[in-house]
Amino acid sequence: MKTIGVVHFYNGEYGVILREKEEIDFSIEDISFQQEIHEGDLVAFRVEERFPAIKLARNITRIDHISKNTIEKEE
C-alpha cells in the first residue's frame, strides 16, 4: 500500500523517512530509478516490516520538496 512521508535524513547511501514521527529506513537501492532525493523531500513509498519492528521503505519516489523550516515547525 502506497504511503507518504518526508525524507528526514539521507547521505546519498541510506536514510530515514519520517511518517507521522515514525522512522522508516531506506537505502539508495530502494529509490525508484535512482532519483535524486534530498532531505525535506516529500516521497511516496511502500512500507515493509522486519523483525522486531524495523520499517523499511521500498520503491520510493519523490513527489515534492518541503522546506526544512516547515518540517521543524511541524515537529
Binding site: M1, K2, E13, Y14, S32, F33, R46
Partner: protein, 1072 residues
Amino acid sequence: MNRLFLLAPKTVLNKYVFDHFGDLSVEDFLSIRKRVEIPSDYFSTHKNDVLKQNSEVLSCMLDKDIEVFRNFDAEAFSQECIDKLASGNVKIKEEDLEKYPMLLENKKMCESMIRENPTLVKKMKDSQITHRIVSLLAESGYVPDEEDFLRCPSFAQNEGFVRKGIENHPNVILQIPNLSLDNVTTAIRNGFVPKKEHFYSYPHLKKFNQLLIRAFESDPSMIRIFDKEHLSSTYVVEASKRGYIASEMDLIENPDLTKYPCIMEPVIKKNPKLIVYLGASCPIHPMVIKEALQNYQITKQDLERFPNLARNESIMCHLPQFRLYSMHLTEKEKQKALEDVIKRKQNVTIDALPFLDYRFGAKADIKKLNKLIQCLDILIDEEDMDEQQRYFQILDKVIDGIVNIRYAQNKSSFLYTDIVSLHNNLMSILQKMSITQNPNYADAFVVNLHTFVGKRISREYLYKEIMQFYQMYLEGQNVDLPVTSAFFNFVLNEHRNDFSNKEKSEILKDVEGKMTLSQKKVNTIWNGRKLKEVAYRIQRRQWSSLGITEAQFHEMIQNTEEEILNNKDVKKSGMDIKKADLDLLAIPFSVNGALTLDLVQSILNGQNIEVMKFIVHKFEQMKFKLISNITLSEEQKEISNLEKEKLGGLNHKDYTIIEKNRYVKNLASLLLKLEDRTVNKILEKEEIIHEVAYFLPLLDLIHEFSVDTFLNILSNYNRVRYKIVKEKDSSLKIDYSNLILKKIEDVIVLANAYSSIDNITLLALGENIVSCVGEQNSKQYLNFYLKIIDRLMGSIPPVCIQMEDYSIESGFYSDPERLLIGKKIADTSCIDLLNLSGVSTYVETLSLRSGDVALFKDFQNNLLSRVLIFRRGNFIQMVTRFSDKTSIEVYKKIAEEMMEQAIAMQDNLDYIFINADNKNLDERGYITVQDPRFKSSFPHADTCVSAILLSSRENVQNSSAIRLDFDVLEKKSYMKLRKQISYQPTEEEITRLRALSIVMEKDVVERENKARDFDPFYKEEYREVYCGEDWYIAIREDGSLEELALPLQDPRIYEEMKYIKKNLHLKGNKTL
C-alpha cells in the same frame, strides 16, 4: 581545299570527293556536303581518320544512313549521335559493343539491345544493369550465371531469376544473400556440393541444415563447420566411423566438437597434446586419459589457457595435483584450502588457490579479498588468559543479546503476551469469582501464573496477591491497570528472567559442545585417565608395563612412608603414626592401586583430617611418578560432550574461548560467500570494518550469530552504526567496538533487516520455496522461475496418476515446487540452479522441451520423490534418484501412460527407459539396453550406459531389436497440464499472483508504480475469491469485481476466467 573550288559543278565536285576523300578535312566535308551527296560507303572504302573521328560528320551521315556508324571510330560518338542511333531503331550487334560500348549508356538502345540479345548483359558495366534491365533479361528467358549475381545484386532480388540461375548454375546459390529453403533444395538437386571455403566466405549458408548435410555426405571432415545448433551425436558418430580425425585447427575453429568423446578420443590418441582442448562436458574414457597423460603432462599454464579442462570432471580426477583448479571442487575442499593459506599468514593468491580466479569459478576479486583479510585481521594468543577472559565476557554479552532477540521473537506465543493480557485475565477471574462467590477460580489462574514465571514466584505469594485484588474488587475499590501494573510487571519480569535463563543455558550448552577445551584442562583429564591406568596396572601387578620391578615399587612405598613419618606437620599433629600403621595402609594401596580417605581414617582411627589427607596425597603422588609410562590410545584421549558438561560449565579457564582455528575457519567461510558486489560494498567502509573484526572467532557458535549474520553486519555496517549512534555528526569520540557489543541485539536485527530481500520477490516465489532456497538466493530462483512460468509445450507426454497414498504428476511446468528438485528429497543432488555441475540438467529438466520431471506428492502436497525425464529422438529416458526405492512397477505405469498418449498423438516416440544403475530397481523380466550415449547424453543426471526398457510402441523381444535414434526430431508436442481451479484459495496463493504480476510487468515505470501500491491479499475484504494457477477473480463485499491474469500465452487462462464469470454471472469492472 580551295574555297573557290566549291563553286565548281556538282559532277566535278563528285569526282573530286571520290578522288580526294582521304584528304578531306572536316571543314571541307561540311562545306561540300551542302553541294553534293557524299555516299556513306565512302567511309568504308576510303580512309580518312579525321572524318571518321568527328562527331559532326557522323551526325550528318546518320541523317542519311543510320547504319553508317560502324565505319566511324568510337571518338565520333557524341551524345547527339547516340540519341540519333537510338531514335533510328538501329539494330546493334554484339560485335558493335566491342567497338562502341558507350552505346549501352543510352537507356533506350540498351533495353532494345538486351531485348534482342540478352547475352549482351555481359558487355554491360555493373552500374548499367538496372532493375529494368534485370526484368528485361528475365522476360527474355536469359539464364544468369554466378558472375551475373556477383556483378549485380539486383539479380538476386528477382525470385524467378534466382531459381533459374540456381537450376542452371547451382553455384549461383553462393551469391544469393536471402536464400530460401527452396533455393537450397534446388541447388542440391542440381548437383551443388558446398565446400569448406563456401561456408567460410558465405557464413549464412550454415543456416541450412541441408547444405551442411550435403557437404558432410561428400566429406566427413565438413563436420568442422557444423555449429552448435546442427552438430549432433549422429553426425559426430558417423564422421568418426568414416575416419574423420579432427585437427588442432578444427578444434580451435569449432570448439563444439570438443564435447564429443568420439571426436576427442581419436584426436587425443593421435596427438596426446591435444587433450588440452577437451570440452567441459566431454566424458572421455579413463584409459584414453591415462595413456595421454603418460605421454603429455598437463601444466598449470594449460589449465589457465584452457579453463574448460578444469570443468571436465573426467580429466580433473586424473590430475590430483591440480585439484584446486577443478570447477567441481566442493565448498568443503575450497574452505580447507583457503584455511590452510590463511593459517600460514600468507597472502591469498591465485597461484595457491586457483579457484579464486574468475576463470575457475571465483565470485569475487582476489585483490579485494586480500584487502578484506587485512581489515579483519586480529591478533589471537590462545595462551593469553586475560584475552580468553575478555572474549568470554564478549561471548556472554552476545548470548544475552541473542536471548533478548529470542524473547522478542517468541513473545507472541507466550501465554500472556503483555501486562494488558495479564490484567484482562485477572479481571475476568475476579468477575467470575464475584458472580459465583467461588474463590476457587483464583486457583487455576495462580497455577497458570506459577507455570508462566517458571515457578520463580511461590504459589502462596501469587495467591495472596490475587486475593488482595479480589478483596479490593469486592469492596468496590479501583482495580484498574495502574493498580495491578506493578504486580504484573513483576510477573512479566520474572517470566522474562525464567525464559532468558533457560535460553541462555541452552545456548551455553550448545556453545560448550562446539568449544575446545584448553590444553591445560585436556592434560589434567588425560593425567587423570593415566592415573587410573596406573592403578589398574598396580592391581594386576603389571610392574614392567609401569617401567619398574616389584622390588622398586615396594621401595617407592618405603620411601613414601619415610617422607610421611619425617614430615614436620605430621609430627606436630600429635597423631602417633607408626611405620607399622603406614605398612598397613600400603597393603590396600598395593592391592587396589589407590587409597581413599575413608580407608586411611578407619585404619589410623585418627582425628586430624589434614594429616590423613596428606597421607593419601603422598601415596597417590607415587602414581604420578609412573604416568610417564602410560600412553593413552586415541580413543582414550577422546573427551565426550557428556564429560565436558560435567566440568562445571563454560569458562575461560577450561575452554579456549578465542581459538585461532575457529577464526580462520570463519574467515575462510566468509570469503567464500562473498561476491564482487558485496565485497565492494564492504570495502567502501574499509576504515571502520576493524571495529567488528573481533567477532569473527565467535561466529557460528550460536545459530543467530552465524557467518551469514556477520556478512550482513559487514555489508551494512555504516548504516547500522548510524542507526545505533543516531548521530549524524560523529565528531564525538565513540568507542564503536564497545558500543556495537553493548547493542549487539540491535546490530543483529538491523543488519538482517537491511540485508533482507524485497517482500514482492519473496511473495512471488512463495514461503515454501524461499525457506528451501534461502532468502538471499530467492532473486536468482525467481528470475529462473519467470523463464519457465510461460512454458506451454514439451516433447514428453505429461502424466497425472493417482496411487493409493500419493500422486505422480509431470507436465505442470509452472508449479514452483519443481524449483526444489535439487533441494527437497534429493538434498545432495547437484541438479540445482546454483550448482555449477548440475545447472545445465536443471535448466533442461525445467525449461526445455526435451526435459520434464515427475513429482511424487502425498495428499498434503508434500514432495516425496521425483524422477527426471528426458526426451531424445525416438525415446524417453527417466532417471531416478540414486537412493530412490520406488518399485519399478510404478515407473512402468508412468511409462505406459506416456506411451499411450504418444500412440494416440501419432508421435514418433518408440521406447521409454529408466536408468539401470539404481540397485533398488528389480530389472528381472525387463529388457536392458546398453549404449554409451545413455551416459553422455544426460550430464549429471547420474545415468549409466545401460537402461531398462519400460514400454515400447511395438512388442520388443530382445535388446537387439531396439533401434535408438538420438537425433530424429520429435513429431509432436504436448501441452502443459494446468492446476485445477481453486474455489477456496488461500491468501498466500492470491498474494503470490499479485506479486508475480508485478515482477512480470515489462514497463519499468509501471512496475515501480505497481510495486509501490502492492498490498498482500486479505480475504476479509472480499466476499468470494476463485483462482487458477495464473489468475484470480475476487468479489468485494460491495459486489464489485477484481480480476488479475498473469501475462502468459496459455489461452486456457481466459477460458477458465470466462467459465467462472459465466457461472457467477459476473462482469469484470476492475482489472489489476
